[in-house]
């Protein structure tokens, strides 16, 4: 697996793994699904791609893979234009797009053999061995000779991942890779992604699970209503949000007064929890003031913004369908 790392190194910092400029897609209905996307995924990154349902993530991934033509703008994978150079670049890319898809009447191994045969650069003489390794990596070795129609949802997901891992890849594009997996399976796949990333493979990971992105990704981008709201390292995303100073107490009204007297802004009371913007406040002084005011303090501390907070702040919504 050092080859992938070497290749990533050979490619150098100059060739961005994924680069789009002004990428837009308007469907025939007139709906603008993706609007002027400027995406830049550095080589070697584990890039989280976030957005509510219907925000244009899958449309973007389809354009990256050359499955649909952009209405405007360009896509480049490793500096080569898509879809023009697709036959040259795509063998370096493994993909799981909008769930796995298989021939139900073929076995797991036969399914992989078909996908591998479709890739002209794949060597038929090493095919059986590569299929065995890929099935092993996703934990399907025992089900290789079973027909795909007998697979469970989680097994189908694993088989889809195995197809993406048939060759050493420079880039993996994974759309919801842990979908349908049990918690144990999720952990296995996450550690697999981490291992692949450690070998130098760039991973482009779209997920609805924010803690998954937080655990696995080095970079992230957030989409909302077809537009890219932000992109950067995961640390930078959270940094945009201020930490909150929070106290748990049955004496909410008194605590609110203390926070305001101490100069706290944006003070909010939620039941037995009172919190405010931590900017410019001395936590120890505020705590002392609370105790001095006779507020019963059950819990007190600074709460850092999570990626979920950043997400909600950026998109102004939870995971509801856009529009």
């Amino acid at each position: 697996m050092t080859t992938a790392a070497n290749r990533a190194a050979d490619a150098g910092a100059a060739t961005t793994a994924i680069a789009t400029s002004g990428l837009s897609k308007r469907y025939r209905g007139g709906q603008l699904a993706v609007d002027g996307l400027e995406l830049s995924v550095p080589p070697g990154a584990v890039f989280g791609f976030l957005g509510p349902n219907g925000s244009g993530k899958t449309t973007t991934i389809r354009m990256l893979m050359g499955l649909i033509a952009p209405t405007a703008g360009r896509v480049e994978l490793f500096g080569e234009p898509i879809p023009q150079a697709g036959n040259r670049v795509l063998p370096r890319v493994g993909a799981l797009i909008e769930g796995p898809a298989h021939y139900p009447y073929l076995t797991g191994a036969q399914n992989l053999a078909r996908y591998d045969a479709a890739d002209r650069t794949a060597d038929p003489s090493t095919r059986a061995a590569r299929i065995g390794t890929a099935l092993e990596r996703v934990g399907l070795a025992n089900a290789a000779q079973k027909k795909a129609k007998a697979y469970s949802l989680g097994m189908k997901q694993r088989l889809g991942l195995a197809a993406a891992l048939l060759q050493p890849r420079d880039l993996l594009v994974l759309d919801e890779p842990t979908n349908g997996l049990d918690p144990q399976g999720m952990r296995e796949i996450r550690s697999l992604i981490k291992a692949l990333a450690a070998d130098g493979t760039t991973v482009f990971l779209s997920s609805h699970l924010l803690d998954e992105i937080e655990q696995v990704c080095s970079h992230a981008a957030v989409m909302s209503r077809g537009r890219l709201v932000t992109q950067g390292t995961v640390g930078e995303l959270g940094a945009g949000l201020r930490a909150r100073l929070a106290v748990s107490t049955p004496d909410a009204a008194a605590a609110e007064t203390v926070f305001k007297d101490a100069g706290g802004t944006d003070v909010r009371v939620e039941g037995e929890r009172v919190h405010c913007d931590a900017e410019g406040l001395e936590p120890d002084a505020v705590c002392a003031a609370l105790v001095a005011a006779g507020v019963r303090v059950f819990g007190f501390g600074i709460e850092r913004a999570s990626l979920e907070d950043a997400f909600v702040a950026l998109t102004g919504e939870g995971f509801d369908v856009a529009q």
Partner: protein, 297 residues
Amino acid sequence: MSLSSVQSETTVATPTAAVRTRRRAPRVRGTFAANEFAVMFRRVRNLALLCALAAIPIALGAAVKLTTRHPNGGGGGFINQVSNNGLFLVFSSLTVTLPIFLPLAVGVVSGDAISGEAGQGTLRYLLVAPVGRNRLLAVKGGAIAAFCLVASFVVAVSAFVVGLILFPVGPVTLLSGESISFGAALVKAVLITLLVAASLLGLAAIGLFVSTLTDTAIAAMAVTVGVTVLSGILQSIPQLSSIQPWLFTDQWTSFADVLRDPVYTPNIVHNLLIQGLYVAVFGSAAWARLSTRDVLA
């Protein structure tokens, strides 16, 4: 699919040792075309279609055997001669299957070609593999043509075997009156089967085109079979005589001209011309559609 299309520039970023083995590797057994053929003839649905086709000569032969004292049937006139010469079961079986059963089987397989892949989502994974859209279409087209050939030969061989078992065989009297040896007649039977397979190519091209239009395989199959029925209906309307020579079903019966001495070729040539034209037109349309299509399934 030609093997010369193996890309040489694809291996830019791979280690040199791997490049060498990749270029030297034997390609035929591992190509996508080989895989497509294997999948097509291993699939239970397609095998069932072929079995059904093989059953038709059996039913036909049994019917003739049981009613041999009342010779009075269709089958393009061949059926009356079956009880005298088993080889005529080949001709009558092809005559019976060509208007309905063979188009049905070809319609199912060709209509499913791209739409089936799209419907089950495997089209997107083939394309990102990447199979290349032109290569995919070429392989699918080749596989459908192979299916036309296999389906026609399944009918012919089944009829030949049934004829051999149930009826006497011997020299064949041609439509033009001469008598030829059994061996010479067998050669003509093979030629006729090839012509029947070729007669199906126009329909196969229509099916391939229709299958690029939709993600619903069953719709593409129904349209393809429906087109055959429609063509048959147009054939029977006298007012449409000006377009009839260009319907793909128009010269389907021309294969019978092989049973003349010398072979009467004008209608056979016309048939091959029509089929070639349909393959060119609908093949190009399928290419134009697939190469620009947004794959959303």
